[in-house]
Subunit: 366 residues, 2 copies
């Protein structure tokens, strides 16, 4: 028996989740900074729902709409300055992983003025971060249910900041906000969710609770992504199914963390602009092969849970993962020090090493 | 999509859960009151594990071992006085539902000296309850993962006190503590867990998250309880499986609450001494029949999840539920006012009324 769980976020899902639960926002304080990207929060309808809920509850707000993909430390620090200036009681993020993660980082930075940037990544803040409320608008990140913010540090590197203080107080998950997502975004965020569920389920450290969550996520993700690989239309039903599955996958991520697809994927995103989900999923076939070698029963249990044959699963990924970059040998070899001693290796069947990482990059991208 | 969840307890399950996670106790403060029943906490090994963990972390403690079955308000108030006297920073409950529920009530009472007893049941405390840590020793209550304490009020009535302030900070679930439980206790606590999963899954308000938890709990509970009904030996494997399933069932309970089997069962317990789990399970066949009438697809989904045919399920309950009391007609009819407007009726397929409750009692116990 390995029942274990900790996920203190109050998650409110379903249509009209924000309007139905607007009163809970008042419990977080009387003013907030809304953190979003440039446009999508407004286009999808979340902005209107959120501001109406805030106004109905007498909560004043200001908007900070400067969050791009792979949010930078600097953009978070600017948001934190704004939050301090207005005396925000809480931070409300609207968006996919980038604004949600940025909201968490801003909550920590706002409460700790003058803290050196290194201390954010070292989890060395002195004051407890402000509370956050998150409103998800994509089906992938899992950020709604994890204590993690992935932020690009001032040296240009994507790094995960993970601490229980960063769990949101509230996460709203209204699938309607995902209905207008472009196909490419839906595929990439869906692949991100698939990576969370896969990396967690195949981890030697996966206990019974995350395994149960993965068994909720995997069949739906594989059914919907496989249909997309075969050219199916995107429908509201498919969007809603993907969103729900992404939350289950987020719960897996929350319990297990990730294996090498995530940190290796960061390289493809930072240097070659591959969207995050596709960047991670590029490494999933190799991860399954590793599981087949070191923990074959688990690999089979994975495919059973996914509801696809090995061939169907591989074919789905090879369609959805295209195109992948070509990387010169000298660039690959230069990654060696970066791949040393990653904590993610504990989640890899049979373990892993920097050398093996470099070999994998050569096999995939040379 | 109806993904919804809130369960902020950090649950630490598995063998040696207390020893492996002893340091987390220090985060709750430097002194605690240990709340237990008279003997079982010591017999099962939990007492030694807990006191060793407290000592290793420099946490002083005092024991309050006066919690009986269906703990009374008065016994909780005496515990609270002791906690205040020693200046306890937190309350640590060891046991089945009774000591765990009592620990939650003591945590609220200790922080609110002089509060009238009615205010506990009205959730009207002014000061936030002390934090609690719970160490479960039976496979049924679910108290480890709910914000509920069932306490017998000064008028002799069992009443649920349920508030987010009452979630434990930590819950330890080491299945070894359940290995020596007598067969009758294992059956009754297992039936309690089965009631939680069944009442939740059959509720018209059951969303996708509790349904997923129930699908974890039901097949295991039905397999193990059915084996016990057929005379199987109790093994450590069976105990551990039942404990884990009881935690999943507790997660169902946490999200949905209960239907009529719980409040109706309280009558059998208060007046006829029927153990809590058996008292609730006495009403499960009627609840399934109601689901078959009003929500037949859901009833079939329930049996599919349980992994038993209808006949097998009914036969399991009829064996394990014996003996049930006989109740005179005038006592049954006198229950009418008690059964008016129970909030639990919202969880009953087709709804319910006090009159129907009385008719059910007449059918079952006359």
């Amino acid at each position: 028996m390995s029942f274990q769980c900790y996920m203190p976020v109050r998650v409110l899902g379903g249509e009209d989740a924000v309007a139905r639960n607007a009163k809970l926002l008042a419990g977080l304080g009387g003013s907030c900074l809304i953190v979003t990207g440039a446009r999508s929060a407004r286009l999808c309808g979340a902005w209107d729902d959120v501001t109406r809920a805030l106004e109905q509850n007498g909560i004043s707000y200001r908007a900070y709409q400067e969050i791009g993909e792979n949010p930078s430390y600097e953009s978070c620090e600017r948001g934190a300055a704004l939050a301090r200036e207005m005396g925000a009681a809480f931070i409300l993020g609207i968006g996919g992983g980038s604004p949600l993660d940025a909201a968490k980082a801003i909550a920590a930075l706002a409460a700790n003025p003058g803290m050196p940037w290194q201390d954010l990544f070292a989890l060395a803040w002195k004051n407890r971060p402000l509370p956050t409320a998150l409103v998800g608008t994509t089906s992938g990140t899992g950020s709604e249910v994890t204590p993690t913010a992935v932020i690009t540090d001032p040296t240009g590197r994507k790094r995960g900041v993970s601490h229980p203080d960063l769990y949101a107080a509230l996460s709203f998950a209204d699938p309607r906000y995902t209905y207008l997502l472009p196909r490419a975004v839906t595929v990439s965020t869906g692949l991100d969710a698939l990576s969370h569920a896969t990396e967690g389920f195949l981890s030697p450290l996966c206990g019974e609770t995350p395994a149960a969550y993965a068994r909720q996520a995997l069949p739906v993700l594989c059914r919907e992504l496989s249909a997309l690989a075969h050219g199916a239309e995107l429908t509201p039903r498919a969007h809603a199914a993907l969103y729900e599955a992404s939350l289950w996958a987020g719960l897996v991520l929350n319990e297990t963390g990730t294996a090498y697809p995530h940190p290796y994927g960061y390289v493809l995103t930072e240097e070659y602009g591959v969207p995050h989900g596709r960047a991670c999923a590029a490494f999933l076939p190799a991860l399954l092969e590793r599981a087949e070698k070191y923990t074959p029963e688990r690999a089979q249990a994975y495919l059973d849970a996914a509801g696809l044959s090995r061939e169907e699963w591989m074919s789905m990924l090879s369609v959805l993962n295209r195109p992948l970059p070509k990387i010169p040998a000298e660039r690959i070899d230069a990654l060696l020090p970066r791949f040393e001693n990653l904590k993610h290796y504990r989640n890899v069947p049979g373990g892993c090493s920097a050398q093996e990482g470099v070999r994998l990059f050569r096999a995939l991208f040379l």
